[in-house]
Amino acid sequence: MSTLHTLSILVTNEAGVLSRVVDLFSGRGYNIESLTVAPTIDRNYSRITITTVATSEAIEQICKQLHRLIPVLKVSDLSVNEAIEREIVMVKIQVKDEDADKILRIAEVTGAKVIDITDKNYTLRMVADEKQIQALIELIKPYGYKDFVRSGKVAIARG
């Protein structure tokens, strides 16, 4: 059975590493749901977080194949352990005067922040997990949104 997995991949921070990782997924027919990458505190290394839907056998192969890449130092399947996962979403809503209060209320209830207001548009930002993001999407749907971006997940093992 295919399930969603979050892989946290520690790599050396050098040119072309991301391509190697991404090529491996495409070349072997695996799917990438989301992907984030940024240097760690030690800038010699980067952290790549990939979410992918796959069977447990495929995940085992993916992890082994990733390990085979020379610049990959560590691969953790965070879905195996309990992990804290967060994602940033930003949504721009064209707000009619009569809806302004409702939008602000949604922001308040969901814990989203209003980070930009113009006479036409409100932009909300939320740092949340998958469930909360889905809830926000449902709430703002009736008002229509102009733009919606999400960062892709970052994750860290609990404890």
Binding site: V11, G16, E57, E60, Q65, I70
Partner: protein, 571 residues
């Protein structure tokens, strides 16, 4: 005192020297002229000029396969680099160590679509073990050191180093690193003791065990250990195409090759085994047949240095990640620490069963009175056996016939493109083999299709006085594809009839020896003449077009659905 400075080109040569490289294969071009200039002024490294970059890389692989040392190729940027891609992929699939140096346009021109620019790092990323773009001359020596280390350790493979022109001109002090530190690369050499014990328990209890010996045994130099283990426990051994020679084929315990064109009894033994001990093989579809039906009722022990090979295709019960030599040695030690008890009634029952299966074999049929390809190959084998030849092949029917009829008792004598199945591999690989082992007879058994893919290398042979005996099994078709068309596509021979030049005249045009054989009685005299020749030879064996390779397990069929002759219907 200021350190002495060297150009990148000089550092390249000094690094190869430090690495112990004495022979390289290559083809010059614009951006690597500085290296060729440096080569001009020295005599420590011998450069072999080929006629096509693809041949340089196959020759380097042939060299690596025979010598056990990494093969080195040097080509220019753009087309020079892209021409090596097939060879890089070939070495990657079969796991042989190569270090491939490609020229690149100057750093400031990269990405600007300069003349002869190709993103060879991007292109080769998925078909090599690792690759480097050198951006600073100070990194060059370290990168070369790392490349050789990566290429030759773990599961060996090709590493590409892309060197922009300005790096070869820029100067830096030379210091060749003694050690390699790669945090993300630590191949496992020692097998886990618990896994080894578990495996041995299973093997001791096995009633119908069989060993599958693959190319990893050759790579690890573990033939001795494998043979010893098999003999201690009286376990029959089947080999893969890449594992040919890892277990002496003259031994009565050898089942020969298994798989698509393997022996009937080898396939049956694997299908009916209760324990399969697979060593250094990645369970390619050519040896498993229908994967769902493979090893359904058996326990599988898999020893491999590459964790990715384990449970990739076949679900493994006891995986042991490690170097085959180390693991087998540890197994033998543990085994011999206690008396070995073999239940001979059980063992004999199994071996008798295999002997029973051995009665079923394909009988070669030649549909006309023309010369039979099988007869030719068998005669070549018998005639050349006393010379202990190194045999390279191209890809197709002749390759399978060679795998079936040539028997080897030692590794590194049968050189063939297994994983990628590259036509055009054999002849340049034979050149590499002839350079790696100057005293051996080198035969390239080829088809008329394959040989024409790199036939230009006859010029290379003549330049360096290398002797390769090319035996062209000339049936006027791309035989293996034709065979599939005959059986599976209603005899529609779509684009498989292929013409050839007059190979005798062609050989003579190059200054080599050409011989044509059309009758059975001429085979041996032709071979005798070839042995006596002091230059490369082309023997054009004009053979029957419609001979088939049997046994044959059709793609996707389980291993025990073996066709032994033309009369058998496809199920």
């Amino acid at each position: 005192m200021a350190k002495e400075m060297f150009t990148g080109a000089q550092i390249f040569l000094k690094s190869l020297e430090a690495q112990g490289v004495t022979e390289i294969f290559g083809y010059p071009g614009g951006v690597i002229l500085n290296i060729y200039e440096a080569l001009y002024n020295q005599d420590k490294i011998k450069h072999y000029l080929v006629r096509h970059e693809q041949a340089a890389i196959h020759a380097a692989e042939g060299y690596a396969r025979v010598s056990g040392r990494p093969g080195v190729a040097l080509v220019t940027s753009g087309p020079g680099a892209t021409n090596t891609v097939t060879g890089i992929a070939n070495a990657y699939y079969d796991g042989y160590p190569l270090v491939v140096f490609t020229g690149q346009v100057s750093t400031e021109q990269i990405g600007n679509d300069a003349f002869q620019e190709a993103d060879i790092i991007g292109i080769t990323r998925s078909c090599c073990k690792h690759n480097y773009l050198v951006k600073d001359v100070k990194d060059l020596a370290r990168v070369i050191r790392e490349a050789f280390y990566i290429a030759t350790t773990g599961k060996p493979g090709p590493v590409v180093i892309d060197m922009p022109k300005d790096i070869l001109v820029a100067k830096a002090p030379f210091e060749y690193p003694k050690e390699v530190k790669l945090a993300g690369y630590n191949p496992t050499y020692k097998g886990h003791p618990l896994q080894i014990s578990k495996a041995l328990k299973l093997i001791r209890e096995a009633q119908r065990p069989v060993i599958i010996s693959g190319g990893g045994v050759l790579q690890a130099g573990a033939s001795y250990e494998l043979t010893k283990l098999a003999q201690l426990l009286e376990i029959p051994v089947a080999h893969t195409l890449m594992g040919k020679g890892t277990y002496p084929e003259s031994s009565s315990q050898s089942l020969g090759m298994l798989g698509m064109h393997g022996n009937y009894w080898a396939n049956y033994a694997v299908v009916h085994a209760d324990v399969i001990i697979a060593v250094g093989t990645r369970f390619n579809d050519r040896i498993t047949g229908c994967l769902k039906r493979f090893a359904r009722d058996s326990q599988v022990i898999h020893i491999d240095i590459d964790p990715c090979s384990i449970s990739k295709n076949v679900k493994v019960d006891i995986p042991i990640v490690g170097d085959a030599k180390n693991v087998l040695k540890a197994m033998i030690e543990e085994l011999t620490s206690k008396p070995i008890v073999i239940d001979h009634t059980v063992k004999e029952k199994w071996l008798n069963q295999i002997d029973e299966w051995k009665k079923k074999r394909a009988i070669p049929e030649c549909p006309s009175d023309k010369l039979s390809a099988v007869k030719v190959i068998k005669t070549i084998y018998e005639y050349t056996k006393p010379f202990h030849p190194i045999v390279t092949t191209e890809v197709g029917q002749h390759q399978m016939w060679c795998a079936q009829f040539f028997k080897f008792d030692e590794p590194r004598h049968f050189i063939t493109s297994g994983g990628l199945g590259t036509m055009g591999f054999g002849f340049p690989a034979a050149i590499g083999a002839a350079i790696a082992n100057k005293n051996s007879l080198v035969l390239n058994i080829a088809g008329d299709g394959s040989i024409q893919m790199n036939i230009q290398e006859l010029a290379t042979c003549m330049d360096y006085g290398l002797k390769v005996v090319n035996c062209v099994i000339n049936n006027g078709y791309l035989g293996m594809v034709r065979q599939w068309q005959e059986k599976l596509f209603n005899e529609h021979y779509s684009q498989t009839k292929i013409s050839s030049p007059d190979f005798v005249k062609l050989a003579e045009a190059y200054g080599a020896k050409g011989i044509r054989v059309e009758k059975e009685q001429d085979i041996v005299p032709a071979l005798k003449e070839a042995m006596e020749s002091n230059c490369s030879v082309f023997i054009d064996f004009v053979v029957e077009s419609f001979e088939m390779v049997y046994p044959w397990v059709l793609a996707g069929q389980p291993l025990n659905k073996v066709l032994l002759s033309n009369d058998q219907k496809v199920c």
